[in-house]
Symmetry: C2
C-alpha cells in the first residue's frame, strides 16, 4: 500500500488567513478521509497562501491572483491522490 | 536558529473528532505563531486522540481518560517549545 498523501497549507499570519486555511483543511480531511495521511497548517508571511500535495504545489494565491473555492482545491487534490474518483457536485 | 517545532494532532474519524482537533490546532497556531513550523491534523481510528510535539507525545486521551482543555495543551506545548514563556491567564 502506498503511503497516504500529505497536504500542507501555508498561510500568511500577517493577513490572518489561519481561519481560511483551517476551513480548507477540514474540507479536505472530510472529503479525503481515507486518502490523506495529514493536512498540515503552516504559518507564513508576506501574503503567502499555498497548498501542496506531497510537496507538489497545487494552489498559489500569488500565481492565481485569488483564493481558491473549496471545490477547486478538492479537484486538484483528487487529481493527485484519487484520480479516478468522482467528487459529485464538486466536479461540476 | 533551531528549526521550528512540529505539532501533530491525531484524531479518530469514526468518533468525528476532526472539529475538536481543528479547534485545538487553531488555538495552538494563534498562541505559538512564532514558535511552530506546523500543526498537522492526522486522521486515525479506534478512539485515538493524541497530540505530539516533535514526536514527543504530550497528550493521549487513552492515557488521560479525557480530552484536554486548551490551556492544558498550551502549557504542555509551551514546556516543549518556549519553556521560559508565560501564557498569562492560560497559566493559572
Amino acid at each position: 500500500m502506498e503511503p497516504k498523501a500529505q497536504v500542507s497549507i501555508t498561510y500568511c499570519t500577517q493577513y490572518r488567513w489561519l481561519l481560511r486555511a483551517a476551513w480548507l483543511a477540514q474540507e479536505l480531511l472530510t472529503t479525503f478521509e481515507e486518502e490523506l495521511g495529514e493536512v498540515a497548517l503552516r504559518p507564513g508571511t508576506g501574503g503567502v497562501f499555498e497548498i501542496r500535495v506531497n510537496d507538489a504545489l497545487i494552489w498559489s494565491r500569488k500565481e492565481e491572483g485569488r483564493f481558491p473555492e473549496a471545490k477547486e482545491v478538492k479537484q486538484r487534490v483528487r487529481d493527485q491522490v484519487a484520480p479516478d474518483r468522482s467528487l459529485g457536485h464538486s466536479d461540476r
